[in-house]
Symmetry: C2
Subunit: 360 residues, 2 copies
């Protein structure tokens, strides 16, 4: 595979991390050819509404929400809104559209029954923050769907149609799931969609995704909730002294509890493992502090780990993937901390441009 | 006590929290009269160096550091630097100066022996992040010193003389310690110092301070260290997906391990209690997640607690304290989440202006 040096491309971090961003390239003609013929977004909250806006002008987009007020607001903003879920799905079949499940994950079972009835072989993806459980539901309820699980790692504290922004996905990681059975052409159309809205595409197996997000998203929510309570138990004096370390560490405890629960409870198994790891480290530190008075091990280990987080994405090199073991190559890129920034091809022959940690 | 309404004065939060700040008033003639005749700062790192700069032009300031390069840098910036620790302390006695211990808390035992030898009845304060242990050391080693423990809740990621800024303490909480034996005149001179550099003064008993900071500062460090490790254990995929929730929650794990240890290990008892509370909440949540699949209790409790943090300081009213139970009144203000913004008086008669949560 060809390799060449590039001036220190970092993984994009959040804006306040103040690092140079590696912005995804604007869609190329190659990429446009891989987009699905149309997109039908089911659920028009922050993510669904942002996706509909981001795709406007690139391909035909329609949508549907179970909430009449949301449908009215989206229609007033110019979105083509279906009159009912069955009509949305039947139209998707006629258009060969990609159906995007963008409502809360707890609603998927019901939606999938409609998919099975009205669009059993449709192109299908979702944007939920857990992937193995959704893949399992899809295979049970509508096994004929051409399903590629996905998860754009983007969000704000806001929610609802009005909060949506066409720029929400720019420079965000967008996980796209693959297994050994995946049809690369189906994956390519979902990956092309994510690339076309400015995301970097991270290929991953569903279980690997769930384990990763349990550690870097769901566990931080659980720990923020616990810390917020321990702080408040200190009373008014403690809260009046709390400064940026407490404010930052508890920020996500301000997220609506039902959203935190939907995310964490759906990823119960992986989150339990991550929680056990955290409880183990904190329990050992507690024992060490109480017996010898030392926090040496936790302080050194935690500081080194934060250092690894801070340099992730340093020393990446671009590469091009091709060949008939594409699923394995893509999964290797994601597992190594790499990501996809472009693709071209058709049928079973694709060329994928990716950034990959330099092994030298 | 007189009370009146004021348009929603918030406790100052960190700058990025984007709330209106209640800025301390500039020093008044009353306040200037309460300042000590001079200040001698022992330890010229971030806090000591910032304090020396903030006081410049207000009263005579001198300093000393055990590190020759630091002494040279401070002298080059115009600070009067003592040739040795004994000469710094003897000069402090001649000037009736307030001696400020601003070096790492692990050096205090040695410094206090010099205080006992060269300035046994000097005005004395410190800026360490633990207070009961330091008060105990002072009472053992130099019991004649007129000691008032203090803790400015200010800092940056930087350290050393060069990192100092005269604005470091502006709008920060500055804890000043009181016990039933405290001479209010000694407290008033330390409080005047803190007010004169723009801090809001929070009166507290040493043990109450230690318990509070264990919960809102030391525990956040411990949890950040643990979370950073659990995230990194997820490998390159997990780190590449980590976004703002992980970045914010692990930020303080980037602090130098020896600084975290000095802070946490010195406050071992209170931190162990706080850690036990966190382990209890997380352990119960883990059990609930694994057995019933629900995070209801933690999600609701943690969200409500974060809400209490976000509204701390709302609905404060100004009041004036006076009378001969001043220690009790001051401690009541701090315990309720209030703070001192001004004072005047002399001898045993002081008038203290404070903000206090509205009880109505």
């Amino acid at each position: 595979m060809p390799r060449w040096r590039h001036p220190r491309p970092n993984l994009p971090l959040t804006a306040d991390d103040d690092v140079e961003m590696h912005t995804a390239a604007p869609p190329t003609p190659d990429l446009a050819a891989l987009l699905p013929p149309a997109v039908c977004v089911l659920g028009l909250g922050l993510i669904g509404g942002s996706l509909a806006r981001a795709l406007r002008g690139r391909l035909p987009v329609s949508g549907w929400s179970p909430t009449p007020a949301t449908r009215d607001a989206a229609a007033a903003d110019g979105l083509e809104v279906a009159a009912s879920l069955p009509s949305a799905l039947r139209q998707a079949v006629r258009d060969d559209a990609l159906v995007v499940l963008a409502s809360p994950v707890t609603t998927f079972r019901s939606l999938l029954r409609d998919v099975a009835q009205h669009a059993p072989e449709v192109r299908l993806t979702d944007v939920a923050s857990v992937k193995a459980a959704v893949a399992e539901e899809v295979s049970q309820i509508t096994p004929g769907a051409r399903y590629i699980g996905s998860h754009p790692m983007a969000g704000t504290a806001e929610s609802g149609w009005a909060a949506g922004s066409p720029d929400l996905f720019r420079d965000a990681a967008w996980v796209t799931c693959l297994t050994e059975d995946t049809d690369v052409a189906d994956w390519a159309s979902v990956a092309a969609l994510a690339l076309s809205v400015g995301s970097r595409v991270v290929p991953a197996e569903p279980a690997a995704h769930d384990s990763a997000v349990a550690r870097i998203s769901h566990l931080p929510h659980v720990m923020a909730l616990a810390l917020a309570q321990v702080g408040a138990q200190g009373g008014a004096l403690a809260l009046s002294l709390a400064a940026s370390s407490f404010a930052d560490a508890t920020r996500v405890a301000g997220t609506r509890p039902e959203l935190i629960r939907a995310m964490c409870e759906t990823n119960r198994e992986a989150l339990t493992d991550a929680l056990d790891d955290a409880l183990g480290l904190m329990g050992v530190a507690r024992g060490s502090l109480a017996s010898t008075g030392s926090l040496f091990k936790l302080a050194e280990g935690g500081h080194a780990a934060r250092g690894r987080f801070e340099v992730r994405g340093d020393g990446m090199v671009p590469m091009t993937l091709s060949g008939d073991d594409m699923v394995d190559q893509l999964l290797a890129v994601g597992a190594a901390g790499g990501y996809v920034t472009g693709l071209s091809g058709a049928g079973t022959e694709f060329q994928v441009r990716a950034w990959y940690p330099d092994q030298e």
